[in-house]
Symmetry: none
Subunit: 425 residues, 2 copies
């Protein structure tokens, strides 16, 4: 089934509003087994609306038009559909009844502007709006079912769930039952993961769709099949990919990396601390964005200057002077000091050069040292993430959480980024 | 000038990703005086891409294609453009040079997958990508300039600003000289600022466009005129709005709130510290995202538990027990302790209930106390921001920076949020 979307609204065209409605329609449709095939977006412009309705109705089985059902002069969907269908607008009895009831319930009179919302193309059938004044409506044109829907997100959502999707599902062949699996991966870039998979499995099955999405600093890997007969195949390949990508898979259940770390800490009844220099509080912030962080986290330290590294975390002034703040010795001492001051069982410390200034030949911008683990079992290592400041802080913060995740899982095997992100010196 | 967009990506079609790139292109273009006229979105499907490139190039002066430049098999933009143009793909010398340099700098070899990114339609001109591996490229087809751009947002942003918009601006007629002013405002919501302005200035001039954009937790207010003859009018109204909204305007020069605070601190030769509980490191993180933060920031404390508030910041255990961690006494002691431990001249401390759990009748979720200023001139106050956890952390972190901004400016007048965001108890 070819499902296309036509979105209308000046605010979508100027970029003042992010288009979340089309994503909602797409996700809800996909759950019902129908993939959106195409989206067009236009401003509140009558000519563009008319021509897009005509054009898209010729190449789709279902066209959902979203927006432009309101009472104001820039709401043009009904008028545009009438022109495209070559019919008149007329007051629709079901629509006017809905509007009168809507206003009565709220103790205000029906305004002229509201009454306009009942002026619909001749021949349309009403699609009920359980939570707003603007009814939806549908009609066939060029073998395409056109459904006009309101732009208010919660009204659209209810209408999709209660009215539209049940009807569309009836039009589907019942063998079409898509299923998908999503992995969140840390350590692989899109291209090296793609290469690993194509080299390992040159004979990838046609029915199995493989997709990637950069969800910085993690990568999302998706497997998808469209039909019930391929569900077993999906399960097989889910296991194969799990074996191949191994512990670089952070989760296949939609939790964030921070949430995975919090859950591991809670299971092991441990608390965590952070001593952050170049990440400036971002690691603690990522963790505390998750509700429940307080069960596993008591204290974090942002030790931005050398003097503070000494006074707060007891880092040796001599080592700072001789080896520099960005060094293995210093991050080990930072972590040790943070563990002591916080009483936490495990932690991560970070010191690096976020840039754009501060780099040297020896330690260029992007160089960073991390120490992680506990007082008795601490590891440390230099990494290299050249790029801009925000990117650097994001990826290093995620790296810190991933290192502690691996530590908590007791993994022996080195992650690929030990090699790929090795510091140049 | 007719500017159209073609967006490609399965993740845009499934609704897994909200399309923020097209909004970014639209906003940046509008600032340069060019309005996006149409958007089409397709999945990573070669046939659809080819037909949309051909169709849209026939009806636009400029077509920006976004996405599909990556190294994987679902990145199809170059191939689609080659088919639409009826030319071959060939390795482009500038592109391959960029890729080799990119990989060399990161100490890894050029993979086959990466090399594919240099395989471009014959005849294209390269559009430099300052921050990513995938170069952009452009070429003319059917009197339309087609520009292919990367899907990674920060790469796209840099390319738009440095490469694409300067070229498009040259194509504009020179009587049409849009100019706009943007204020970043903290403390006002869109509807109350709109009301203040319409009440104060009922006779708003037609040529002057007034716009708002929620840029959470700040609000952006925009004034815009389209023609050179109205530039003087814009200057007049810029002054009027400045007088009306006063110190709630954080900046009219595009700096972030954190950057404004850093600049004030540097001018006054002061350093700052933070003692954060419910914001969990976010205030420090906002500040340290800005290059130059190290000149004014040495230490931050994330004191999440009561025990740490005492051991690290010397908060009285008795006061914690009697008044609770979310109290004026405790935030004053937290700030005092942080100032002492860090040696900073000014600071902010925060303790509140981010939710979703932990609220009481007396102190519901959303209650937060802040203390700000110096040891000798400290203020403290309770505020109330009901809403979800992430929203709460964002707005309270911005509030902390705004309070210290007002303190550094020596403002006497109380901001409106002292009244509007007063704690209920």
């Amino acid at each position: 089934m070819k499902l296309k979307l036509l979105l209308t609204g000046n605010e979508l065209m100027t970029g003042d509003t992010l288009d979340s409605n089309s994503a909602m329609i797409a996700k809800m449709s996909l759950d019902a087994g129908i993939q959106v095939n195409y989206k067009a977006t236009v401003s509140d412009d009558l000519d563009q609306l008319v021509s897009e309705i005509s054009r898209l109705s010729e190449s789709s089985d279902v066209l959902i038009v979203n927006g432009g059902l309101g009472p104001t002069s820039d709401d043009l969907t009904a008028e545009a559909l009438a022109i495209a269908m070559n019919v008149e607008l007329e007051e629709h009895p079901v629509a006017i009844k809905h509007l009168v009831e809507w206003c009565t319930k709220r103790n205000y009179g029906l305004s002229e502007a509201n009454r306009k919302q009942a002026n619909l193309p001749k021949g349309v059938e009403i699609v009920a709006n359980a939570s707003g004044s603007a009814v939806g409506f549908k009609i066939r044109l060029n073998d395409c079912l056109i459904v006009c829907t309101p732009g208010v997100p919660h009204e659209l959502k209810t209408m999709m769930a209660q009215e539209i999707l049940p009807q569309l599902s009836e039009l589907l062949p019942n063998t079409h039952q898509p299923k998908r699996v999503r992995f969140r991966v840390f350590g692989y870039g899109e291209s090296n993961l793609q290469e690993l998979i194509s080299k390992t499995y040159p004979d990838w099955p046609d029915q199995l769709e493989l997709g990637f999405r950069a969800s910085m600093p993690l990568l999302e890997l998706k497997l998808k099949v469209d039909h019930l007969k391929d569900h077993a195949l999906l399960n097989d390949w889910q296991a194969k990919i799990k074996a191949l990508v191994g512990a670089h898979i952070v989760t296949d259940d939609n939790r964030s990396l921070a949430k995975v770390v919090i859950d591991l800490l809670a299971q092991q009844n441990k608390t965590i601390t952070f001593a952050e220099s170049c990440t400036g509080g971002k690691i603690a912030s990522l963790l505390t964005e998750v509700s429940g962080a307080s069960n596993v986290f008591e204290a974090g330290f942002v030790s931005y200057s050398n003097a503070i590294k000494t006074s707060l975390l007891n880092v040796s002034g001599i080592d700072l002077a001789e080896q520099g703040a960005v060094s293995e010795t210093v991050v080990r001492q930072m972590l040790s000091g943070a563990l002591k001051a916080s009483g936490a069982e495990v932690g991560v410390s970070v010191s690096g050069i976020a840039g754009p200034n501060g780099g040297t030949d020896d330690k260029p911008v992007g160089t960073v040292y991390l120490a992680w683990g506990s007082q008795t079992s601490m590891q440390a290592r230099a990494f290299y993430f050249p790029g801009n400041r925000i990117f650097f802080q994001q990826i290093v913060s995620a790296l810190a959480l991933d290192l502690i995740r691996r530590d908590l899982l007791g993994l022996e095997e080195a992650p690929i980024y030990f090699k790929e992100r090795k510091s140049p010196n």
